[in-house]
């Protein structure tokens, strides 16, 4: 072929691809009928398993800090379901008319996680100078729960623990990562995250008095094109295959 002709064909192909890309981005669903679920990072393992077993068809997940996901919905992202590690984020979205009324579907416990063979054995140890701690950022649920806990501690303890903080991660899996890599000596995560590491990390339970009330809530996003299936998904979280997977992973029943 003559060079000019090749050039023409290439230009035509490039334009065709550009047009196709634009069209693809215009609201077309990825796979016909896959449900899009934005969920807190701590829900990753049990929800992924639930997704495989979900009778309503394929499910596509996006796991990140609940605050990040909530903001995305606020900015116009349209997953079908939003599942958060607290009730306030979905509550706010509901008040803004972006989601349907949220449903609480699980509880969890905040623990102090340490590497399996660690010298840190208690919260008091975490307050010692030289101990490196990782917590969540202020706006992510695990981070705000942690601050609740520290607020309940007698003063010098809380200050010392905060002074030991070396990283404020955007989601709980980031804290887990720092722990498993030995970057920090202790971190505040959910007990389910520790269980998921199958022995690499150990959970140090917090006193009942310090324990915040951790409630997970899910809501169907308004404007979803899969209303029935979205509602079915949420229902399954509350009492169904989803709830079973959550329990198996160590999540607690929703607090009263």
């Amino acid at each position: 072929m003559r060079p000019a002709r090749v050039g023409q064909l290439l230009a035509a192909a490039a334009t065709a691809m550009l047009v196709a890309a634009v069209l693809a981005g215009c609201g077309r669903r990825d796979a016909p009928g896959a449900l899009a679920v934005s969920a807190a990072a701590s829900l990753r393992d049990p929800l992924t398993r639930y997704g495989y077993a979900f009778a309503g068809g394929p499910v596509r997940f996006s796991f990140a800090g609940s605050d990040q996901l909530a903001q995305q919905v606020r900015q116009g992202a349209k997953p079908d379901v939003f599942a958060s590690a607290n009730t306030s984020l979905p509550g706010r979205l509901y008040a803004e008319g972006l989601v349907e009324r949220p449903t609480v579907f699980a509880g969890n416990r905040l623990v102090l996680a340490v590497p399996a063979r660690s010298e840190v054995r208690s919260l008091a140890d975490a307050a010692r100078p030289g101990v490196k701690v990782a917590i969540g950022s202020a706006s992510v649920p695990v981070g705000s729960y942690t601050r609740e806990v520290l607020a309940r501690l007698p003063q010098p303890g809380a200050e010392r623990v905060m002074a030991n903080v070396r990283s404020e991660e955007p989601d709980v899996k980031g804290i887990v990562g720092k722990l498993t890599q030995g970057a920090v000596d202790a971190g505040f995560v959910y007990v389910t995250d520790v269980t998921a590491t199958k022995g690499t990390l150990r959970a140090l339970e917090l006193r009942r008095a310090l324990q915040p009330s951790v409630s997970y809530a899910a809501a169907v996003v308004r404007g979803t094109k899969h209303l029935a299936r979205a509602r079915k998904f949420v229902a399954g979280l509350v009492a169904g295959e989803g709830q079973r997977e959550l329990r198996a992973a160590g999540f607690e029943p929703p607090p009263r």
Binding site: A4, R5, G7, Q8, A11, A12, A14, T15, L18, G65, D67, Q68, A70, Q71, R74, Q75, K132, A134, S137, A138, S139, V140, V165, R166, S167, E168, E169, P170, G174, G177, K178, Q181, G182, A183, V184
Partner: protein, 266 residues
């Protein structure tokens, strides 16, 4: 339309599409932010700290990259040694590595449980969760951008000019300083600008390897990410600041290399 006309139109469409696609997100940032908000954002101590940290760490990373990378690029460009192609590919690898993978790689190599973890600990060097760790992550992701450009720039220096310098009494090192680097300057500066830009925007590797902590490791991209969930307009404002800084950077490069540009084009 005739053949050549069609071709021109298609080319024009492709260019227009590219320009719109590339500039729209940037323009959108500025449309959504008000200048007042932008300035307010600068007054915020966390924003200022993030900016200071970003500028410090990227400048340090760039200094390391240029100082160590220039002789390395010169070696790759001028000597044909065995395994040169392999070395070149290895050096360019971080270019195609997703930042998250780069972060994991850094942890696996230099983290406390990593290959050199014990050595670093014994030497008293702390990288993870420290500003030094940020610099290391930036060097890893940005270095290939400089090395590639520098190597190309050095290759383009006419060998006869190097030979002439030698016959006129200048040794290898002297020739490098007096002839090679000045001739390759536009390419070197362009490479440095690319590397700096890449470093300024680095997120994933920094987060995984160095963590995110105000004043220590939370660079502007990390700060934007954190703000996004809490205060979208603030995130926009900080993004706008980053765009302005990057723009100023690119402009400075254009001006610096403007004089040498014509020569480089030959």
């Amino acid at each position: 339309m005739t053949g050549p006309r069609v071709f021109s139109v298609l080319l024009g469409l492709a260019l227009a599409g590219a320009v719109v696609f590339l500039t729209l997100p940037i323009v959108a940032i500025f449309i959504d932010t008000s200048p007042g908000r932008l300035v307010e954002s600068l007054g915020d101590p966390t924003a200022r700290e993030a900016l200071r940290l970003s500028l410090e760490t990227t400048a340090l990373a760039l200094a390391i990259i240029v100082l160590a990378g220039t002789p390395a690029a010169y070696l790759m460009a001028t000597r044909d040694f065995r395994g040169r192609a392999v070395v070149q590919t290895l050096v360019e690898l971080p270019l195609v590595l997703p930042p998250a993978a780069a972060g994991i790689g850094l942890l696996a190599a230099l983290g406390p449980r990593g290959i050199l973890g014990g050595t670093l600990e014994r030497a008293g060097v702390e990288l993870v969760l420290q500003t030094a760790g940020v610099v290391v992550a930036l060097v890893l992701v940005a270095a290939p951008f400089y090395l590639r450009q520098a190597e190309a720039a050095f290759s383009a220096v006419p060998t006869s000019a190097i030979a002439a310098s030698r016959t006129l009494g200048a040794g290898e090192a002297s020739t490098l300083l007096r002839v090679v680097v000045p001739t390759a300057r536009p390419g070197l500066i362009a490479g440095a600008a690319l590397a700096w830009g890449r470093a300024l925007g680095e997120f994933g590797a920094t987060l995984m390897f160095a963590g995110s902590f105000r004043g220590v490791t939370q660079t502007v991209p990390l700060a934007i990410y954190e703000r996004f969930s809490v205060d979208f307009p603030a995130a926009l404002a900080l993004s706008a600041v980053l765009v302005c800084v990057s723009f100023a950077l690119l402009l400075a490069v254009k001006l610096l290399t403007g004089r040498g540009g014509a020569v480089a084009a030959r």
